[in-house]
Symmetry: C3
Subunit: 137 residues, 3 copies
């Protein structure tokens, strides 16, 4: 099994942002030369998510609204007794999951026609990392 | 690393359906001859999910009810400005996640006694695809 | 591709508990000798979860509270017609997801500074299993 690992760093302007990273995954895959296997794309922070959905601004706002409804920004999370203010971002990470595995078939990301990979920042305005690891032959 | 890739197509009668696919994963695994590794089972659409739970009709209805409570069918999603009507299905996909990885040990799906794999259709009545990819030795 | 598989058994005192298992994953990885690849950590029951978050008791309580709000312990789940009483635990499993994949780079779990792996028990006080499978070279 061969592998190739790269890291991306995000530093968003807003507290919450949804950033399409399909092309970044493709670049790492192409550089790896791997034809059959998978790409693991995983946030390295506990206040960010990774998901696959539609590259359409309306649905990204709808997702954001749902997450804010279930896990709103609030002052009184128990986590805030530590001095932190980002309890909601931890909960949003749990709800969206922090990683996806994209199958690689015949040298390409084996995604459906509308599937795009997103990095979901829930507590931005500072450097946050993500790992992309391609594994296969 | 060896691999084997197959695609399933679903065309459900209902808008929402939960279809057990454990046996399909087993068939692809058996055909692959792989003894140690994993099976990636991943929806290729952004309005479907894949999860592991109990093959019991009551709990599948309970799951459906929870998803409809959190992310109800509604007219006023921002996504619907594009002409689509399936915003709720995108949100249900985010909540359930669209993929699972089943470990393969000694040539078998290494599942617990009650674990069954389900394809969750949230916007059916049309052809939808899923990829099963076995990887290992 | 090499692999190594181990199973953990939990028998919690409480119905719901969150148990840090990062060191257990590290032990299996070290025993495997694998330098590049991944560790799959997957609950073998449909009433437990596995997630990555912060080893801070406040946020673990906040996560528990969110799950209990969305999927409360209740008598009237349809699943309970079977005689079971753990419908809420099945729903909490769906919400948290039952598995994570940790990348392995240069022989180490490739986690961010605050990422810790947790086994989430939602229906404890009895033996429950989890599989850890390391795959790579």
């Amino acid at each position: 099994m061969k592998s190739k690992t790269e890291y991306l760093t995000f530093n968003t302007k807003n507290k919450r942002e949804y950033i399409r990273i399909t092309d970044k995954a493709k670049e790492v895959l192409d550089a790896s030369g791997i034809q059959e296997g998978m790409v693991l794309i995983s946030a390295m922070h506990i206040t960010a998510g990774v998901f696959i959905n539609d590259n359409e601004s309306g649905i990204l706002s709808d997702i954001d609204e749902m997450l804010e409804t279930i896990a709103p920004y609030r002052d009184d999370y128990r986590h805030h007794r530590t001095g932190e203010k980002n309890g909601d971002a931890h909960l949003k990470n749990i709800l969206t999951h922090h990683q996806v595995i994209v199958p690689v078939t015949a040298g390409k990301l084996d995604l459906g026609p509308w599937q795009e990979i997103f990095y979901a920042e829930f507590d931005g305005r500072r450097a946050k990392r993500l790992v992309i690891k391609v594994m296969g032959e």
